[in-house]
Symmetry: C2
Subunit: 330 residues, 2 copies
C-alpha cells in the first residue's frame, strides 16, 4: 500500500458506517429494514465535464454526494449509505485529499449517508468520481418517473437556473450582464453552480404526496418532457410561473435570453413532482413545514393527436418558441 | 438525447432486470429477500491501467462484471444485480458499443446478475468503467476478511498466476521464455489476463464452510498477508503447494523467476479461504461437487512476538526470500 493509499484510508475511515467493516473488506454489509425496498442510484462526475478541476476539493466531494442525494429525495427514499469510486490522477496533493475527505465527511453527516466502501484507482486522465447511493422506501412505495397522470399538477422545489446561469457567469465573466450584477448576486450564482441544495428534507412528503417524481438535472423543460414521455401523458408549463432566485431574476432582467438558459441549462437538482390536485395543499403545507419552497409550474394533460408532448406558454397563454430548436419541438 | 445515448439505451435495455424500470428512472428498486443482508461491492476499471484500450470490447465488459462477481463469491453472496458507470471517450464506435453490450449481456445472464441502472457520461480521457454489484446473504452470514483464526487451513480456488504471467507475455512477447511456449500455452496465459473465472459456483460452500474469505486480486502473497493482518493472526504459506496451470508451470520451467511473478502479480480473481480443519474435507467435497478446484496452500498461526505476519516456505520448510523486497518483509 502506497503512502497515498494509506492517507486515503486514514481520511475516509471516520466517514465509514458500521456496515463498511472499517473499509477493510472487499464488500460492505447493508441490513435492509424489514418490508422495505432498496433504492439504488449512481452518478459519475468527471473533472472538466461536471466540475472545474480547480474547484475547491471539499465542494467537489459535496457535489458528488448531493447529485445522488437529490435522486434519493426525488424517489421519496431515506438515505442509507454510499460507495465511492475515486479514479485519481497523480497530481492530487495530500492537502487536496484532506480537503476532499472533509467535504465528504461534512455532507455524509449532514444527510445521514455513511460511506460503506469504494475503490481507489489510478487515473491517467481527469479525476473521475462515481457515487452509488442507497436509500430505502416501504415496499412498493418508491416514487417513479413513469406514473404521472392527466390532471396532476406539476411542482418544482426551490428555484431554477442558478447553476446554469452561474456557469455562464464563470465562463464569460466579461459579459455586460455579469458586470451589471452586484457582488452578492454574482456570489449566489457562483455558489449555485458549485453546490446544489438537495431536497432530502422533503423525502417523506414526496413519498406520501407525489404521484411521480424525478430530480431536475438536465434542464427543467427537457426533464418535464422526459417525465411526460415516460408517463405517456402530455404536459403544460407556464414559463412565467417558474420560480427564479433574486440573482437569476436580476440576470434575466439584464439579459432576457438568460430566461431560456435558466429553464434549459440543467444542474438544478431541484425536484419535479406530479401531484394529484386534491393533494396539492397538503404538499404545500408539508413542504412549508420542512422549509422547502414548492411552486406549481404547470399541469399534466391527456395526450391528444397532434398535441406536443409538452406545451410551454408565457403569461398570455401563448406558446413559447425556444431559440434552441430542439426545445421548440418536444 | 444524442444518437449515441439512444444506441446505449437500446443496447443496454435487454440486460436490465425488472427493478431497473426499463432504465427510464433516476433510480432502481431492489427488493431484498426477508432476513437477508445486502452485500455491496464496487470496482473501477480504467483503460490503460486495468485493461488494454484495444482489448475486445466484449471481454472488457465481462471482466468488469467478473471482478465484482468475484468479490460476491468471496463473501458467500448470491448475486442480485449491478449498476454500471460508463465514462466514455468520444472515440468509441457503434460497433464497439454493440460488442461491449453483448459481452455484458452474456455474463449478466450467465451469472444471474441483471443490470439495474447506471450513468453514462462523456470522458475527455480513457474509458473508465465502475461496476457496483449487489448480492445477498442470510442475515449476519457474510464471509468476512477479518475473521480468520489460528489453526484454520488456507485454501485457494483454481490456479494462480495466469493473469500476471499472461500480462508479461503480452508486454514482452520477444522474451525467450515466451518463445519457448507452444501456442496453446500462450493462448491460455493470454486468456487468463483477459477474462478471469469468478468462482460464484462455490458461493454456498463458501458461506457454509469458510471462516474468512476474500478474492485474490492484488497478488496471492500480498492478499494472504492482508487477510492475516486484518484478522490479527499470522500465516504460513507453502510455496510448493500453490497450484499452477500447465501453461504457468511451463513458463516457470522456462524462467524460474516467474514463480515469484505468479504469486505476487495479481489479477487472479480466485478465492482465498480460511477454513477450520474439521470442515476442510466438506469444503473439498463441496468444491468438487460444483466443479471448482480447491488447494490447501498453508495455515493460520497464533501470532508470536518477532514472528513475521506471513511465513512463506519452500518444499524443504526453508523461509523463501522474495526478490521483491516488500514481500520479504511482510
Amino acid at each position: 500500500m502506497s503512502g497515498e493509499d494509506d492517507l486515503i484510508a486514514r481520511l475516509f475511515a471516520p466517514i465509514a458506517g458500521p456496515g463498511a467493516l472499517g473499509l477493510k473488506d472487499d464488500a460492505a454489509i447493508l441490513e435492509p429494514s424489514p418490508l422495505h425496498d432498496m433504492v439504488l442510484t449512481v452518478d459519475a462526475l468527471v473533472a472538466g465535464v461536471h466540475f472545474f478541476p480547480d474547484d475547491p476539493p471539499e465542494l467537489i466531494a459535496r457535489k458528488a454526494l448531493r447529485v445522488n442525494l437529490s435522486d434519493l429525495a426525488a424517489k421519496g427514499a431515506t438515505p442509507r449509505g454510499f460507495l465511492l469510486t475515486f479514479a485519481m490522477p497523480a497530481s492530487l496533493s495530500d492537502d487536496w485529499l484532506t480537503a476532499f475527505a472533509a467535504g465528504l465527511a461534512q455532507d455524509a453527516a449532514a444527510y445521514a449517508l455513511p460511506l460503506l466502501g469504494g475503490d481507489t484507482v489510478r487515473m491517467p486522465g481527469p479525476l473521475t468520481l462515481s457515487v452509488t447511493a442507497f436509500g430505502e422506501v416501504p415496499r412498493g412505495r418508491m416514487v417513479q418517473r413513469t406514473t404521472a397522470q392527466a390532471d396532476d399538477l406539476l411542482f418544482v422545489t426551490g428555484d431554477i437556473g442558478r447553476a446554469a446561469i452561474g456557469l455562464q457567469c464563470r465562463l464569460k465573466p466579461e459579459d455586460g450582464w455579469v458586470q451589471g450584477l452586484d457582488d452578492t448576486q454574482r456570489a449566489a450564482l457562483h455558489d449555485g453552480y458549485l453546490l446544489p441544495q438537495p431536497r432530502n428534507a422533503l423525502m417523506h412528503v414526496v413519498r406520501a404526496q407525489a404521484r411521480a417524481g424525478m430530480d431536475v438535472s438536465d434542464g427543467l423543460i427537457g426533464d418535464v418532457a422526459k417525465m411526460m414521455r415516460a408517463s405517456d401523458v402530455a404536459g403544460r408549463i407556464r414559463l412565467d410561473h417558474v420560480p427564479f432566485s433574486p440573482a437569476v431574476a436580476a440576470a434575466i432582467g439584464l439579459a432576457p435570453h438568460l430566461r431560456e438558459t435558466a429553464v434549459t441549462g440543467g444542474d438544478d437538482y431541484e425536484l419535479l413532482l406530479a401531484v394529484p390536485p386534491e393533494r396539492a395543499d397538503v404538499l404545500r403545507h408539508g413542504a412549508a413545514a420542512v422549509g422547502v419552497a414548492v411552486t406549481q409550474i404547470g399541469d399534466v394533460l391527456d395526450p391528444q393527436p397532434g398535441m406536443p408532448e409538452l406545451l410551454v406558454t408565457d403569461g398570455q397563454g401563448k406558446a413559447y418558441e425556444f431559440a434552441i430548436r430542439s426545445f421548440s419541438h418536444l
